[in-house]
Structures are given as structure tokens and as C-alpha cells.
Symmetry: C2
Subunit: 299 residues, 2 copies
Amino acid sequence: MSLPTHVRLVEVGPRDGLQNEAQPISVADKVRLVDRLTEAGLGYIEVGSFVSPKWVPQMAGSAEVFAGIQRKTGVTYAALAPNLRGFEDAVAAGVKEVAVFAAASEAFSQRNINCSIRESLERFTPIMEAARQHGVTVRGYVSCVLGCPYEGTVAAEQVAVVARELNAMGCYEVSLGDTIGTGTPGATRRMFEVVSASVPREKLAGHFHDTYGQAMANVYASLLEGIQVFDSSIAGLGGCPYAKGASGNVATEDVLYMLDGLGISTGVDLDRLLLAGQEICGVLGRATGSRVARARQAG
Amino acid sequence: MSLPTHVRLVEVGPRDGLQNEAQPISVADKVRLVDRLTEAGLGYIEVGSFVSPKWVPQMAGSAEVFAGIQRKTGVTYAALAPNLRGFEDAVAAGVKEVAVFAAASEAFSQRNINCSIRESLERFTPIMEAARQHGVTVRGYVSCVLGCPYEGTVAAEQVAVVARELNAMGCYEVSLGDTIGTGTPGATRRMFEVVSASVPREKLAGHFHDTYGQAMANVYASLLEGIQVFDSSIAGLGGCPYAKGASGNVATEDVLYMLDGLGISTGVDLDRLLLAGQEICGVLGRATGSRVARARQAG
């Protein structure tokens, strides 16, 4: 299989990234980040999450963020909506695309979402119905697709079952996440091979964490499997606080550098992206997780 | 092309790694590092360099290190020998394998080795002759194979010329180094494709730097090209002080984690390797450059 000529980058930094940073930042800083990402040419930005601030204080003010950003035509500004209440809040904030979240591992589902995989999927039914009524599109996430912090190995067949369900419910795309970053390229390829028997490859996305240094190799392996959509996080922000040893989404800058090198178009400008990363790292007072950014700073 | 079933890891930490760390460490600490690496099951360890301590103070005492290490049968303990004087010192220290170093870029050769590529190759002639007389094997390095800090792009054909010369002179293996880490997987594959028309793949090795986060993807790309030998550095020690923005060899732990995941045998034990990395980082008082090591520490 030859490499895709175009890849869509799904920027998860403002949500998945910031949600997992220690300190909350202001609405103004979030708006600025999203605007910078828009200016860099990203076509999909996960802006926030409509969830109780009691559980995720970093995501407070997502409605205000949606109200403040400069929307560019053709760009998708999405929000995580874990339940119907969150979905309704999202719609009220003018959100046109939401994401729902399931796990491929039963133990992770219980500990992270407090219900079985089956129950989590059932919770999505009213969201999917409401989404259809409101003309809102829905993207699905599956976590722990290449390993679980509690169960260890996760069968690709189990991932396929959850992905197929999400697709059948109406998710136009299913993002498969290596939440704890233990996947290696061969497992990644086999996983996509198995899942694509249930959901067509063009409806699948890859979401990799660099916890064990494997994310970039896994992105390349996924490209070889015909995957054309990748989630990544500006400056490598975030991780997963529930997963033992988990750290850092793969950095958007590093993925873009590879895609540029491979001659795969994305519409994203590296220099502007680096600027966005530099700014948010300044706000957070943290070092960048992007090696491209570090190299450019040193140069 | 299917993946190789076995890979040989060439551990360059004690030489390439420590040489590029800011502070020199004691002979005793170097001996301990090499012994730990031997215990981890590595079959090839680059122990030191026979070069004037005026130029590379970190490599002072290489003869003492060779005298102090516990040699294990079947393991290659190598030294860098940039000239005949260095070669003779190496032989006097009981070294049975040396490495020589050329560049694929004319500008890099001039600035780093102070001579043209042609002159650098000519300097190796007396070393190769002396090596044959002493029954010493010689490994060749080519730097800047995927980019040069001064010239930018480096043609794969130019890499092939230098690799062929080294092979013709008697280097049993030629290691191709992405010194500044700007290479991406497609360029890596094309480079090996072109060079392997001049030197058989089984005589080539890959040497990747993670400066731009591409090293692991490049290792995977090389495996797909049938490359079976990789240089890496324990804890990601070192880099290249002469190359703008260059940092960190790819970490042996991270490469091994990927190879283990791919079911490719190496004979190296990850837990023992992690121990070696932890110890040397303690001596240097620096954080590990291995993400596997970091994840295991956090876990």
C-alpha cells in the first residue's frame, strides 16, 4: 500500500492536552491558543469539553472559549460531550461537532468512565439521536487500543467490536488511541488490519502517545496501513492522568515535520504551528514536548 | 520486504555518548558502564576513542578503560581511531576492532575533520593496512547522510560514494549516520535503497539522532529496508557538539522496546539495560533521554 498524499491533523491540545496539564489556564489564553492553531492552518481543533468542572476543572469555561474564538470557514471546532447534559451544553454554545469516548478495555472503562463498555455505548444512544436532530456530527474515541494499564494486552478484535459499534451508531470517524503508549509498529499495523475489516480505513484515525518513545514509529506504521487522520497535541501537551506512567500525546509539530518530509500535504504551516506552541508553553510555564520545537529553539 | 528476525545493536553510549556530554567522568565509572552494558547482553560496545585528550577530554583514559573492563567472549569492544597514531594506541591497549569516521558532506568534513572527504579517506589507507597486519577489524562511519548543518540536503548518491569507498578499503560494515536528525522515513528508505546498490544491505547499519523526533520512525523505516544493525546510545547520551541544534542519539532502551515489540531478537535484556542507564545518569547527574526509562521510573 502506498502512503496517502494528504493527511488531516486533528489538534487535541486545547482539550486532551490542557485537560491533563496540572494548572488550569484562563479563557482568554485558551481562545488565543485556538486562534493561533486556526492561523497555522489546522482543519480540526478540539476546543474544549462539556463536563462538570468538579471533575475536570481545566475544562471550565468551554462555552466562553467557543464564544470567543475566531471561527474560520471550513475548520471544525469540536468539543467532548461525555453525556446528554454535556451535549446540550455544547449545542447551546454553538458547537457543531462533538466527540464521545469509549474504551477497548473493560477494566479501563470501569475505572475511567465508571461503567462497562456496553453501558458507555448505551449512554451514547441519546446523544447520537440528539445530534441527528441538531445536525451535529459525532466523532468517536476508543482508548487503550494497544494496551491497558490494568489488563495489559488488549485484543484487536475487541477494539474492532467497539469501533464497529461506534460507527454503527453514527460516528463518522473513530479515533483509535494508544492511551498508555505501549504499542509498537507491528501491533499498530495488525490492529488497523483487524479493525478495518469492521470499519473502513478512511473512517479510522490514529491517536498515539509517546510514553515509550513509539508514537512517531506508530504514526509511520499507520500511514503504511492507509490511515489518513491523526490526532496530535501542540507542544505535546497533556497525557492521561488515569493511566499509570502515561505522558504526552505525540506533538503536532513532530508529526507535521515527518509528514512534510514524506511529501504528504496537510495544509498546516510549521512555523506558525511552532509559534502557537511557544506561546502556550509560555503561558503554562513549561518546556515544550516537541523535539522539533526544541531543535529550532537551540538552532 | 519482511522485517529481519534478528538485529544487532551497536551500543555507542560510552564513546559517542559520553564524548558529547559536558563533563568528563572517571575511568572507574566508564568501566562500570561498559560492564553493565555487557551484562545486559549487548554484543557490540564502542568503549572509547584514541584521540588527543586536548581535543576530546571526555575520552581521556580509554586505554585504562580497556584494561579495566570484563571482556565477555563473543562481545566486540571497539574504539574510534581517527588516525594511525590513534590506531597504534588502540592496538597497544588490546583493541581488536576500530572505527573510522568520514562525512558525506564536503562542508561538514572540512569543519569537523579539517580536511576534504577525499583526504579523510586517504588518511584511512595506512590504518586499513595496519589493521590487516594486526588482525584488527574496521567499521566505517559516514555522517550527515540525511542532511548537513552547512549544506542542507545531501544526495544519497554522495553517501553511496563514500560508503562504497569505505567498504572497498576493507570496512566490513558501514554505519550511516543522520548526524543532525533531520531525516524522515521516506528519505531514509530512499537513502538505503540508493546506497545498497553500492554496498550490500547486510553490510550497512543505521545511526539515528532524535533531534527532530524522527529517529524511531527512521529505525522502523530502515528495518523495512532490510537493515539489521543499529547504533544507539544508552539513556540517549550524547549528540554532536559540532552540528547546530543536534542533540541526543536515539536511546538504546527505546529501540530495544520497539524491537521486542516487533518480535525481533537482539539478545539484550531490557531490565538490565534500564539499570545501566539509570546508573550512568546518576553518575552524570542528568535526566535520562530514554522515554522507556522515564515511563518505568514514573510507573
